[in-house]
Symmetry: C2
Subunit: 467 residues, 2 copies
Amino acid sequence: MNAFVEALRALLGPAHVLQGADAAPFERDWRKRYEGRALAVAKPGSTAELAALVKLCAAHGVAIVPQGGNTGLVGGSTPDETGRQLLLSLARMNRIRELDAANLTLTVEAGCVLQAVQEAAAAQDLLFPLSLGSEGSCTIGGNLASNAGGTQVLRYGNARELCLGLEVVTAQGEIWDGLSGLRKNNSGYDLRDLFVGSEGTLGIITAATLKLYPKPLAQMTALAACDSLESAVALLGLAQARAGSGLTGFEVMNAFSLSLVRRHFAQLPQPLPESPWTVLLELSDAEGEQHARALFETLLEQALERGLILDAAVAESLEQSRGLWHLRESIPLAQSQEGLNIKHDIALPVSRIPRFVAETDASLQAAIPGVRLVNFGHLGDGNLHYNVQAPQGQDPALFLREQEPRVNALVFDAVMAHGGSISAEHGIGRLKREELGRRGHPVALDLMRAIKKALDPQGLLNPARVL
Amino acid sequence: MNAFVEALRALLGPAHVLQGADAAPFERDWRKRYEGRALAVAKPGSTAELAALVKLCAAHGVAIVPQGGNTGLVGGSTPDETGRQLLLSLARMNRIRELDAANLTLTVEAGCVLQAVQEAAAAQDLLFPLSLGSEGSCTIGGNLASNAGGTQVLRYGNARELCLGLEVVTAQGEIWDGLSGLRKNNSGYDLRDLFVGSEGTLGIITAATLKLYPKPLAQMTALAACDSLESAVALLGLAQARAGSGLTGFEVMNAFSLSLVRRHFAQLPQPLPESPWTVLLELSDAEGEQHARALFETLLEQALERGLILDAAVAESLEQSRGLWHLRESIPLAQSQEGLNIKHDIALPVSRIPRFVAETDASLQAAIPGVRLVNFGHLGDGNLHYNVQAPQGQDPALFLREQEPRVNALVFDAVMAHGGSISAEHGIGRLKREELGRRGHPVALDLMRAIKKALDPQGLLNPARVL
């Protein structure tokens, strides 16, 4: 191993190979669920250096754990405890390579922070729509490797749909230049989408060509109060029909989620009285604010007439719009102030959500009387963060320790029964690997294992993640 | 082989195993470029039957050529000349399995004709946006296997983007049920997108869950005359900024394309005087006709002011709109009336198109004085059907025979130099297999071969297509 680290230092320069205390920040995931020890942290400065590094690893049989901004939620990008895995940080590879405004594309390196990508687009009055809580520190390479979702998926799709081409270093240390700015390209198998979402287990994404959009002239937000999830789903259908793809956000929050925000962030205004479900709608408009407002008014009036909503409030200014989003975004913080809970990132057909929630809420209440559900998420995408909080007064840490397997089994059984997914946007990593092995379709798992073996026969790329 | 055919008859019933004259219509592609001989034509009636059939083929080492509506353009779905390949027709597997209006999804079997899929959606006032010339006979399985494009890609994406989940029979005859109606699902590798576009070489798509959209209240079409492709590209940018995703069509036609329509379909009205380039724009509007018309008027006025267009005509009725589309759709027929030509289905970054066309037109004129370019296509997607017609008075068949390799080399060299693709929406099949082998990125080709070997080690699925 010493010979390997020496060769690595010679390749990257000693400043870019970290060990000991310097390596520590890379060895623990940000939620502090996974803490490992890396052989070293390697920070290549270019694709060519990274490719040489992978060849070196292959020659020495050293496993590689790629890491972007280390904001993952499933333990996919920190090393295990053996001290034998190389942590590969893409942080130095963060150049914006090319913006082609007429083609609406942007080519960036994997280590670019998402916010920097957004800003590069905005500087040309264009929009890169991927947007999520960690955008100030997550990297586009990590976003693509985990096929990140976020708040604009309803209109623009996941990270996958925003990517036109990739540059990838294979397990053999070869460079595939697939940086295409093409909207149509049917020449062979779709390698791009195979690497997107593979969490660094099939190859290492080093750069990407991304889709841009014209920046909407106006964005406007409204809150609506619903007495049931059935009404919220019907409101979604109405909003999609009336606003078409102008509807760029449709988030749902249950009463308990917002009560936690009220308790822990009392200063945040909540314009609507408490109701079982609150929906946040966002319109993006190519024509301007007046048009967006008129559309909102017609839409919400129709929803009131049809009895789909109890009440609604349209933001009067950009600041108020931001305030409404801030409410939604404060839920994760408010729940962590309330204490640890059992988190789920699940997806369901939208049509199944009301029944899933009714049934699963009831089963959980029957199993653990007084249990509290922090249920919120991207209803427009069928994606709920269905989080289970200890009954009032119980120790959250103890609850997590004692109840997590039972709660997970109950929730995931219900998800599968309704044709859903146990991982909507966070990925599998280490956290859900066993669950995938148990619940994945056996033929799909065989296909995935065959692909893994074909592309990474030595098993050196992010081992024991996903599969 | 006799034992195999007997076993096949026992499996499917004798009525569903065709030979001799009954098999003939399946043995020739519709452009009549490929004519082969099949061992037999097998028409299974269910996924289970199809899976058993694949197991039988694997046991006997019989290669399988899947076929949907037999409308492919690259020889991907007809058998070779050996008489040893089984032609697998999906035609009997054409059930609409489920429409979930609240989830905006539709699950159909692979043999459903595209138009039947569109109609099933329309019956619920919903839209399945995939639309192409052969929609009356092509099947959704073939559309997905070849990742078909068409005229609505600008807004809704290719067949790939319209597919949420698949059911696939593997080369081992196993059934993968991946029929998910989920918008977000990050649980393992993206098998769906690996099968989509793999042209039946990795597995056989037997059913799919497709995305639906609310039906726009209005659709409106306009023609605009441009003096250059640079202006047409600038008009595209303006239209995207002003109309956002309301812009659902942006087609371009050069003067020669429209002159062929004028010559061969004189009865079709052409509302604008001849100009170097004519653009067809389509708006889809969730608010109604009046809104669409106002948007068109503002947009075209701005384009006139900026000198991007010479003239424009907005359709006054649905019938006129259809008439403008009919103009565009008559180009392939008009050119075939004019005689055989050398067809290309290429994609380029939109920003590169003006220079590509100027340079390639000039090189072709220099190489073959008097050569005529039937250049039209989906400019919004960077996809041109850049077809090369013999000089006036020359025998088209002779021209094709003598000039095709030279013309292809010249066009494809230019495509590659501009970062384009030699197959935008038609696929590789047999027609472009050698070209892909020559021009594909060597690392990509190695990855594809590894995947093919891993998933179909016997090499029985559509052999000698794609790779």
